[in-house]
Amino acid sequence: MSDDHAAHGDSHYVKIWAYLLVFLIISFVGPMLEIQWLTLVTAFGIAGIKAYLVVVNFMHINAAPRFVTYAVTTTLVFMLLFFAGAAPDVMQSSGTNWIKPAWIEAERAYEAGEVSGGGHGEAAGHGDEHGDGHEEAAGAHH
């Protein structure tokens, strides 16, 4: 991209907008096929593409000095770091000296098919097939 981003005519932006709409339709239709991996690809892959289009073409990140890109990327990396550090605990339903009663109950109910998607259930864990996964609760800390 150029530092003379003003040089594009308005038609350029309309074109980008049209691309965005096409991608929006794809991401919307994708999940209707009800194939899990395809849903993930269309939903999140396309969200990434759309975000890229907006950031580059509308926000003109390339026209700003390089450090702007680095700053934004660094923030994203730190958020990934947060996820990586917290997820191993938060995604468990029990651990050293603690359990999360509601999670374990919901997991059981979900596996038994008792819970539909309605509003009034407790949060549920989907059965951790690999068995070592538990959610957590500091509640039972001795």
Binding site: P31, A47, A64, A86, V90, S116, G121, A123, H126
Partner: protein, 190 residues
């Protein structure tokens, strides 16, 4: 009062206001990163949450995405008009962007009203808590953006402070990008 000389310098090779808005965006990424990261941890751990997510209305989500993308187009066209020195057109396009924001909020209000009246409230379970919190924080950003945009349009109309049109535009696009990720996270991924 007039600006300090400090504001007019640009040692880093980027106008001060544009530099500042990028830093604001970086800090906003951390805010949304916190709430969406926490949401994702729960979402990935719970198969049942996909069933909850099925209760959201993806047609309304689709409409809102369309509205925000289109308002972003208006914002970037306003920036182009401002670059050409056409303050009048820039102001009008900003008003159009604002109207998009309003339409977004109206759809949101209808959607929340429907969901709450059908028993899916913020206290129903953790999924719905995250749903209302994440979308609510985003909606607050939409409201803030609209209000700021009205101020910017006011000055742009008089052909003053035209550089502000780009700044508010960049912020608005960021709000748009956040929604681009909220849409699959809350609506379509099942």
């Amino acid at each position: 009062m007039s600006r300090p000389i400090a504001t007019t310098r640009s040692m880093a090779g980027i106008p001060t206001a544009r530099l500042a808005v990028w830093w604001i965006i970086a800090s906003e990424i951390a805010i949304f990163g916190g709430v969406l990261g926490s949401y994702l941890m729960h979402r990935l751990a719970h198969g049942i949450w996909a069933d909850y997510a099925a209760n959201t209305n993806e047609w309304l989500g689709l409409t809102n995405t369309f509205i925000l993308l289109t308002s972003s187009l208006a914002a970037v066209l306003a920036h182009q008009a401002a670059e050409r020195g056409d303050g009048k057109r820039a102001a009008n396009l900003l008003y159009a962007t604002c109207a998009g924001g309003l339409a977004f909020l109206c759809v949101k209000a209808y959607e929340w009203n429907y969901e709450i009246s059908h028993g899916m409230t913020i206290t129903s379970n953790t999924f719905w808590s995250f749903y209302y919190t994440a979308a609510g924080i985003h909606a607050l950003h939409v409201i803030a953006g609209c209000i700021l945009m009205l101020f910017v349009a006011q000055t742009a109309k008089r052909n003053e402070e035209l550089h502000r049109v780009e700044i508010i535009g960049v912020y608005w696009h960021f709000v748009d990008v956040v929604w681009i990720f909220l849409f699959p996270l809350l609506y379509i991924a099942k």
